[in-house]
Amino acid sequence: MADEIPDSIPYRVEEEKDAHAIVRFGRLVDHPRTAAHDEELRKLMERTLTVVCDFGGTEEVTSEWLRFLADLTSVAEEQGKRVTIVRLHEDIREGTVDALALRDRLRFYDSRDEALRA
């Protein structure tokens, strides 16, 4: 089992290969988003074909992270790439994602494998 993500960081890049990268998010993703976060994730998207954002252990995500991932998804798709959201809790999908009208702009999957196969 992968190490727990410390409170101090919102996510950890767990795996990076030519074809894909896996980013695992922490339990509470409420961290102020910084330019360093944005740059790291954008570059990850540019270096690979698919970025899998795994929210399997996440209880909460703030709206600013979801909005950023929606923007990143759009940019990726313009370049023929993909940013996917995996195992995001249904409550967050039904509540926060819908409140922000982001459902159509994010790509949801139930597992990492499914996201990579798609």
């Binding site: 409170d7 509470l28 993703v29 409420d30 703030t62 709206s63 509540g95 819908d98 409140a99 922000l100």
Partner: protein, 407 residues
């Protein structure tokens, strides 16, 4: 010399960096930087820094010390000034009035009088007394409650009429209206505080009879509520029947049907407008409170867990909704109140019947507006019952209930 400058000089004399001082008090370097720039720091931390740097103790400041004690023992008492009406408008001649006098010091004097007798006879006296109170109670200075009551008592004696009356002085500090002390006195309105203007309370002495001494009460033991109710409010509370509204208030005040009434009462609070003639000051004890530094994710997550755990005792679904709300509220604090990346946040919570209420207060930049996706998300999960933005920070109060009908 400002305290922040004194701390910086003392620190440099010792050859310490901000980071070293921060380590000594178990805080972050930006937090120390904030203190040195005179922009915050908890009283406990500042006291600790004084000890470490051999600075002189802070000169006696009774009000500040009282606040520090309140913070030590629990949450400061907040008087919600937004609920206080400045005027008491009556549609017809009446023998009752309530005056609120805001003083330059930030204190608040409340004077309520109900002259015994029917409106046409009592109204001229009430009008005269209003002028008298305004003249006697200047904005520049708050009188002692018993002093003002004594003068009012004498003035009433000169009119030859009797009255029920109440005088309360709320000593407040800072923009958040923290209550430091309270003194109140009255006749015909016994504690616990309940005032129903427009009533003819039986305890008022008959005109011309010897007046009974005012009843003095100089402390507020939470939870307390000061209710000043107009006929209109009573009718609304009683579904059109004033007497039923009064009975409802009394039942609530005396503890019977305590569970049933407050929810309805709270609904009433939400409908206060400038032309409604009632006022309410309220403070209830919180079930819990915690404070954390926004830059410290571990503290922040601990606060989240504490509140969610408390909400789970009411209902698991409520806890879920409160969790969603909290992360957005904390995120808003980080983005808007403390864009520099540091500052403290206070969270309070309590159960209110089948509702769970949480308040998130920051001390950062005020002037926030109620818009943006953060608020939209919070509204998705709970009712934003009030938000108060001032020069110093923002307080948001949210609640949700077992049925989840707020979403």
């Amino acid at each position: 010399m400002p305290l922040g400058d004194a701390i910086r000089r003392a620190r440099l004399r010792r050859g310490w960096t901000q980071a070293q001082l921060a380590a000594e008090i178990g805080r972050s370097q930006p937090y120390v930087s904030q203190i040195e720039r005179g922009r915050g720091g908890s009283p406990r931390d500042i006291e600790r820094i004084r000890e470490l740097l051999d600075l002189e103790p802070e000169p006696a400041a009774p009000e500040r010390q009282l606040v520090a004690e309140l913070e030590w023992d629990g949450p400061p008492q907040s008087v919600r000034s937004g609920w206080v009406m400045k005027t008491w408008q009556r549609p017809r001649p009446s023998g009752d009035f309530v005056l609120f006098r805001s003083h330059d010091s930030g204190d608040l004097t409340v004077v309520a009088v109900d002259v015994v007798g029917h409106g046409p006879r009592a109204a001229p006296i009430a009008i005269y007394l209003q002028g008298w109170v305004r003249g006697t109670c200047p904005a520049s200075k708050a009188l002692r409650a018993d002093d003002l009551a004594e003068r009012l008592h004498q003035e009433l004696g000169d009119t030859g009429l009797a009255a029920n009356y109440y005088v309360g002085v709320f000593r407040l500090i800072d923009a958040k209206r923290h209550l430091v002390s309270y003194e109140g006195t009255g006749q015909g309105y016994p504690p616990p505080l309940l005032i129903i203007a427009g009533s003819t309370a039986p305890s008022a002495p008959a005109p011309g009879s010897p007046a009974s001494p005012p009843v003095r009460h100089d402390s507020l033991v939470p939870p307390w509520r000061l209710v000043i109710a107009s006929d209109g409010l009573l009718r609304r509370l009683g579904a059109g029947h004033e007497s039923e509204g009064k009975r409802s208030l009394l039942r609530w005040q005396t503890g019977t049907r305590r569970e049933a009434f407050p929810a309805r009462f709270l609904e009433t609070e939400q409908r206060v407008t400038d032309d409604e003639s009632f006022a309410l000051l309220s403070w209830q004890r919180w079930d819990g409170t915690t404070r954390f530094d926004i830059e410290n994710a571990t503290e922040r997550h601990r606060a989240y867990d504490l509140v969610k755990e408390a909400a789970a005792e009411l209902d698991a679904a409520v806890a879920e909704r409160i969790g969603h709300v909290l992360v957005e509220a904390f995120s808003n604090c980080a983005r808007h109140a403390y864009p520099e990346g540091y500052g403290s946040v206070i969270v309070r919570w309590r159960r209110e019947g089948d509702r769970f209420r949480v308040e998130v207060e920051d001390s950062g930049r005020g002037g926030a507006v109620e818009e943006g996706s953060g608020f939209a998300t919070m509204r998705r999960w709970a009712s934003v019952d009030y938000w108060k933005s001032g020069v110093n920070g923002l307080t948001v109060s949210l609640s949700t209930n077992v049925e989840g009908e707020d979403g």
